[in-house]
Amino acid sequence: MKNWTKHTLITRWIAPALLAAGGLGSAHAADANANADVECPIKVGVLHSLSGTMAISESTLKDTALMLIKQQNEKGGLLGCDLEPVVVDPASDWPLFAEKARQLLAQEKVDVVFGTWTSVSRKSVLPVFEELNGLLFYPVQYEGEESSRNIVYTGAAPNQQAIPAVNYLMNQVGIERWVLLGTDYVYPRTTNKILEQYLKDQGVADSDIMVNYTPFGHSDWQSIVSRVKAFGSMGKPTAVVSTINGDANVPFYKELANQQISAADIPVVAFSVGEQELSGIDTDPLLGHLAAWNYFQSIDTPANERFIENWHEYTGDDDRVTNDPMEATYIGFNLWVKAVKKAGTTDVDTVIDTLPGLKVDNLTGGTAELLPNHHITKPVYIGEITDNGQFSVVWETDEEIPGDAWSDFLPDSKKLKADWVELDCGHYNTETEECSGQMSDMAEDEE
């Protein structure tokens, strides 16, 4: 809470007229120091679209968060308090995300928020979380190039998904020619830029890389698939790296099937297609196409089995699949619970300071550690689509890979570093040794 007496236009402007009322101000200021003790119930905000275009993906994460909260309450809650979910619907409307974030933090006074999916929704709420000093767990793979003190990124950064996938195709399948297909927005743009640089570093010629962007919800893939087919018929093994988003995937895969491009001809490795997306597609023609994730439902571990069982029980539907962002939500939730337990409070600043270095089990048998850059360590799996709408793992990394907030393959971000423990900075320039943008002590400076 910021002090109202700060030199503001309004105060200067109207204060003389309202000196009498001004006396009330001191009471207001005294209220500014938030009480660090825990107030029951602990409120957990859930900020996922339940209507509009993103509801397809996001509503599942709302259910996941609610399930985790319910389980935690059954285990006796947290610090002796029950967790109370506060669900709002930002309706796939980006400015509404900012409004709802403000509502959660300022009106509902939630202690933590699990939410957002698209980059733009995260960018939209980021200033709100920084201004009101909230804590957001972001559970989706994204383009990187960001590290905020108030956000914990439990999804994959490009080095935890894209680069291992390309490595696999290059070394294990022997791919020499690359088609980078993406929806025209920041995640595919960044990922493709990183990949292009990476491929060139590996000696792939410019003429062996084709990049194509399509608009959101693109539904007519005939021409593009036909071009991909032509590009792939030049005698070198060719693969498609797909960062096609959401709705456009189904017509894309259907067109692949129509034009009879099988995985043996031109394998497609996707970064945004998981079990849930597959549940809306007839997978028979897609057998063998690939996806790179940090989690697959098919991975056989006791933890995962339990998680899936709980999920089926919670949703009352044995056919509901689990997916990577669900695991990321699970990891994020457990990290937060652990941090709160360790800190003994839900106070955001304390929790943020407690979080880095904490480790929790992931669902695939490894551990996720929260790094100082607010990203986590993750294993990478490459899976091939099977006929039951699942993935069978064909390759995996030997160990967890630490998430990299600033890519080493982009000239302007190579020099940047995020470290909220030592440097207290999300974009520290290692050349000028300066920190630009947000710093954790910013709020205090203002007081």
Partner: protein, 374 residues
């Protein structure tokens, strides 16, 4: 509703009870909300939280957009299903200014280029970004860009007498095309992410309480001025011509009026008002992205006007407030079922309140008056 054209301007404009009440309430709101936010203790029942200030501020800009739409639809019969295009352009002009204000505080620390350009390897600032760091210039663009688009588009459309549903559909095409264009990262407007992470305006930090209240007051004043301008127009002689066009376009034309020019003029004014609304909207919500151009958003804006009551101006503003308040409340309180409620609301308003909420008031009044004598 019609009043003499010959009285003093102010009486003419505010002679209508509804308008008068609206102006008084609006002024009261504009003054009271910031005061209640700053001077009342948080514990007080009348305290207005920061969240509410930002929220009402947003409604005020929506209301200005609704007034702009009502000006052409309610008074001249031009249904534009693409008015958020002008709103969005105004918003982008403001967003560009705010973006330039970030200066070297972006993550890559480039003093000139916004982060997304650094990231996409842009070497120079595109020509249309030049000058946007100057507040007066940017504010001129807020009005001029939407105005110019409206002028060109309207000139083409009205000259060849594109009317009614056809006009509505091509305005949809216009805003849809703009949305697709702004989605393109090559355009240099940040693509899908749009412009965001603004730091300050006119040297003051955006997230400061004072600035929030100042923006609120600016929105209130903007709406007030916009409303008064619209009232001035519709109560002038010109306004009568517009209504004549609305009611019988061919007849007006045959009487000797150059219908196309009247339409073009009012369409351009309306677009400029929408642009101003967009410019006020952006710093308060903190983001502008291409989804503002979406055809559905435009239809929603028309729905506000219809819900409030078409052809009254204050009804439009009221409708914008009411629908958006309902949306805010329902998406929080009933996240699972709010689209039902909103859908039913739209249907019910059309069927039972053909003149909108404002119509309901006069309907009730009429009924009461009718009852009294009997």
């Amino acid at each position: 509703m019609r009043h003499s054209n010959h009285g003093p301007v102010l009486t003419r404009m505010l002679g209508d009870t509804g308008s008068l009440i609206f102006v008084v309430v609006l002024i009261a709101l504009t003054v009271a909300v910031p005061l209640c936010n700053v001077y009342l203790p948080e514990a007080s029942a009348l305290h207005v939280t920061d969240y509410t200030v930002a929220l009402i501020g947003k409604y005020l800009t929506y209301a200005l957009l609704a007034v702009a739409i009502d000006l052409i639809w309610g008074y001249c019969g031009i249904l534009s299903l693409g008015h958020t295009a002008f709103f969005g352009l105004g918003g982008y002009a403001m967003g560009m200014y705010l973006m330039r204000q970030i200066g070297d505080r972006g993550v890559y620390g480039n003093p000139v280029l916004p982060d997304f350009m650094v990231f996409l390897d842009w070497e120079h600032l595109p020509w249309y970004w030049h000058g946007m760091d100057l507040f007066p210039f940017a504010m001129a663009m807020v009005v001029l860009v939407p105005g110019l688009l409206a002028l060109v588009f309207g000139w083409l459309a009205f000259r060849s007498r594109v009317t009614g549903v056809y006009f509505a559909i091509i305005t949809q095409a216009m805003t849809y095309a703009l949305m697709l264009a702004f989605f393109r990262n090559e355009m240099g407007f940040g693509g899908n992410n749009g412009l965001t992470d603004f730091k300050d305006i006119l040297g003051y930090e955006l997230s400061a309480d004072g600035i929030r209240n100042a923006l609120f007051v600016a929105s209130g004043v903007g709406l007030l001025l916009g409303f008064l301008i619209a009232r001035f127009i519709v109560t002038s002689r010109l306004g009568r011509v517009l209504e004549a066009i609305r009611d019988a376009e061919s007849r007006t034309r045959f009487t000797g009026y150059r219908v196309a020019y009247y339409k073009l003029w009012i369409f351009t004014v309306s677009a400029m008002l929408a642009g101003v609304a967009g410019a006020l909207y952006v710093p308060q919500v903190g983001i502008i992205n291409p989804s503002e151009f979406s055809p559905i958003a435009s239809i929603e804006a028309v729905v506000w006007v219809a819900v409030g009551g078409r052809g009254t101006l204050y009804g439009a503003a009221l409708g914008a407030g009411a629908v958006n308040f309902a949306k805010t409340w329902l998406t929080g309180a009933y996240p699972e079922i709010w689209p039902y409620a909103l859908g039913i609301l739209f249907v019910a308003v059309t069927l039972f309140l053909p003149k909108g909420i404002v119509g309901l008031v006069s309907q009730l009044r009429r009924r009461m008056r009718r009852k009294e004598p009997s």
